[in-house]
Amino acid sequence: MKRRNGSSDSLLTKAGGELDDRFKLAGPARVLFNKVFPDHWSFLLGEIALFSFILLLLSGTFLALFFEPSMVEVTYHGAYVPLQGIEMSRAYESALDLSFEVRGGLFMRQMHHWATLLFMASILIHMLRIFFTGAFRAPRETNWMIGILLFWVGFFEGFFGYSLPDDGLSGTGLRIMEGMTASVPFIGPWASAALFRGQFPGTDVISMIYIIHVFIFPLILLALITVHVALVFIQKHTQWPGPGRTEHNVVGFRMFPNYVMKQVGFMLFIWGVIAAMAGLFQINPIWLFGPYEVSVVSSASQPDFYVMYLDGLIRLFPAWEFRVPPYFTLPAVFWPAIAGMGLSVLLPLVYPALERRFTKDRGHHNLLQRPRDNPGRTSLGVMVVVFWTVGAVSGGNDVFAEKFDISLNAMTWAGRIGIVILPIIAYYLTYRICLGLQQHDREVLAHGLETGILMRDPNGRFYEVHQPLAEPDEHGHTELEYNGWVVPKKMNRVGALPPTDRGFFKSIEEPSENGAARDEIESGKH
């Protein structure tokens, strides 16, 4: 809407005209420019994953220029002194060369790895937001399922990524994956032999997972992300309830210029955070791990954080192995690794359908729910979060044990008991907290705000003065209906007291003119 001088205006018009002549864009472009987006901080979480993904494609392409997925044995003669003369695979050697002998290569590798962690972390946080606000409900179940698939494809994409350098830690990860694969009933050993072209580790697995990591899975991710974003666009974003907001409209600001500028700014901000972290925080120092050898392992061997939960389950699961003499064995690792992972994929995928079935709620929902307003779902979500967290912490229980001087066996037992007990406690507590919050909302709507002013009536009884939120009707009732959105809980939220000062270093607001009102309230003359 900026006023420009005539010449640039006409230039723009001319260019637009040329484009429209060829592509007939005026109509669709207008729809795009004018689309309305709701504004809330929690609607920006998925973008973190999206923009990390773009950076992953860019940095990954750089790395692919220098990395060689080959398991040919070579002797290292590169720059890193402590590995000189050591036999290793070409993959590990090229990963070292990439880190030490390519200008900026180490930075790029670290950026790729930090972006991965951010990608997975933001998917998790985004998923929690969607879950707790009920944004997965009809008509958006498909997009929820796509999101779950995105997490799991990202999970394996990340796992394969950090397996590629063929260093000691990544080999240990593959070793564990082999053990898990071999435990699958009927096909286990055959699947393992197919993946490693014979016995683990063989000489082919790196080139196999390389093509998956750089081509097949990125393609799947790209396709899924495209559909995911397109569906958000087509179905229009959900919004929080509030004045003027209904199931049938979207209140917010326009795609152009507001939304797009904020998106571009946020994208650059995310990239800036990743770049700064990649420069300042060292990640995955493969040169310390040495080449992968089957007889070598390090204490505190852990997977990346998004796999850690699964690793924790494997650590905690009791030593229960079932045997069917004479020929079949169902190893202990099958339950947490294969069955556990299967359930972790399946349950979230079908959750929207389950909830629909259970609540018999078949309507479309474009307004979000505050977590407190659906205590059952919220408590279930917190339960899963606690379960996941206990698992993830147990995935690093040896580091905890060592750094905080706790017995390793005690950590394992604490995890075993905790992963059963804590989610139940969390469910109960969350449920009570949700109900409490609901009740308080209703109380305020019915009786008004607590003013903090104590009065004494002629009988000597003390009571607190409440400020009703609405004008009394003809019966003198001031009760308001709950509309699913934030209920003001403080006097300054309804303008009876000046709002709390805003601004970071110094107040950015003029002194309030409500001083008189405050004086009035404080003196008790309401």
Binding site: N249, V296, V297, I314, A319, R323, T329
Partner: protein, 373 residues
């Protein structure tokens, strides 16, 4: 609902776009109206253009952009000219150890400044606006649906799918093997696992012409009893070609020299299958290094508590009780490699492991010897 909004749009008095007196904003609003958008609130951020406050905000944004450019320049300069090559052990005083931090910091902050510039522009200079747009949720109109149904029906009938069931059936019949043919090439990956889990590098028949295989260290040195002191342990490999490489992933073995008292305990606890083959020699015992849980090397030997710990999932094995699992998720003992000392004084394996080493797998035979313990 969509019908309702459609009619609402039609009822609204559309402006006459050919009217030359229309302002640009009125034309713009007509566009919004056509997209079912209504302006609730729209005002410039600064009531009077060109005020001090506005100029100040412009200066801040411009300053952020210029800072971003400065940092980007610094990044390019550092990327090209900052010493970066690794030159052996270095302290924080050596500039090359700062290469990654410097380029990360400059690039990161260049991006951050630009980002904050754009965001400030959006937040502080764009008009304050609130608009409301109708959703058209809940499927197409009845008319559209009916037209689509008729279209599909026409297509189906044109093809004769209902009239020609034989064609459909034969096509489906052919599609099944065709689909199979599409995935069949993946079958090239299939490989018979054969005995890869049960035969290790210690198999004398396969790898050493039936001669007992000696124990060697990683550098190839053959192992004699005097090379391990009491309370000590070494990792040993079969003394065959590439015996210490990843070609023999289940071969690595831990040779432990127990103290007398511990060895006595082990002899007492020894499983019958190991007694039968005289698996330990003197106070020396050799256990597979590959954890029976999922295969990490269970190599954290605690010489006082006589435990072997696997660092991956914390399985613990009792060294003086056949390396039976005592804690953690492992279910089976670490197989013992039967050893003795040959005429020339070197350790040899008298046979391969009696039970398959390493993690369990679906068709792992349950050996009767294991249940005897």
């Amino acid at each position: 609902m969509s019908a309702h909004t459609d009619s609402a749009r039609d009822e609204g008095a559309a402006v006459d776009l050919s009217d030359p007196k229309l302002t640009r904003f009125e034309v713009y609003k007509e566009g919004l109206r056509r997209d079912d958008i209504e302006i609730i609130h729209y005002e410039p951020r600064f009531a009077k253009p060109g005020t001090k406050a506005e100029k100040r905000m412009e200066r801040i944004v411009a300053g952020l952009f210029l800072l971003s450019g400065l940092f980007a320049t610094l990044f390019v300069v550092a990327f090209i000219w900052w010493p970066w090559e690794y030159e052996g052990a270095a302290t924080w005083r050596d500039p090359q150890t700062w290469y990654t931090p410097v380029i990360g910091f400059t690039l990161g902050f260049s991006l951050l400044f630009f980002a904050v510039g754009v965001l400030t522009w959006a937040k502080k200079l764009l008009p304050i606006e609130e608009l409301v747009q109708d959703r058209h949720d809940g499927g197409s109109s009845k008319e559209d649906r009916r037209i689509a149904e008729s279209t599909v029906d026409t297509i189906v009938d044109d093809m004769g799918l209902r009239r020609r069931p034989f064609l459909v059936k034969s096509a489906l019949l052919a599609a099944a093997p065709l689909g199979l043919a599409a995935v069949a090439p993946l079958g090239a990956l299939i490989k018979d696992p054969a005995d890869m889990y049960t035969v290790t590098g210690w198999n004398a028949e396969r790898y050493n012409d039936g001669e007992p295989i000696r124990l060697m260290m990683k550098d190839g040195a053959l192992v004699r009893p005097d090379m391990v002191s009491a309370g000590g342990q070494i990792t040993v490999y079969p003394a065959i070609d590439h015996g210490a490489t990843n070609q023999f992933p289940t071969a690595p073995t831990l040779l432990i020299h127990l103290r007398e008292a511990d060895a006595a305990k082990l002899r007492e606890n020894l499983y019958p299958m190991y007694q039968d083959v005289d698996a330990i020699w003197g106070n020396f015992v050799a256990y597979s290094k590959i954890c029976t849980h999922v295969g990490c090397p269970a190599s954290l030997y605690e010489q006082q508590s006589q435990r072997l710990l696997c660092p991956c999932h914390q399985s613990q094995f009792n060294v003086v009780d056949n390396a039976a699992p005592v804690f953690g998720p492992a279910t089976r003992h670490l197989p013992m490699l039967p050893i003795t000392v040959d005429d020339e004084g070197y350790f040899v394996a008298t046979s391969d492991f009696l039970v398959p080493p390493g993690p369990a797998f679906w068709n792992r035979p349950s050996l009767p010897e294991e249940d005897e313990k």
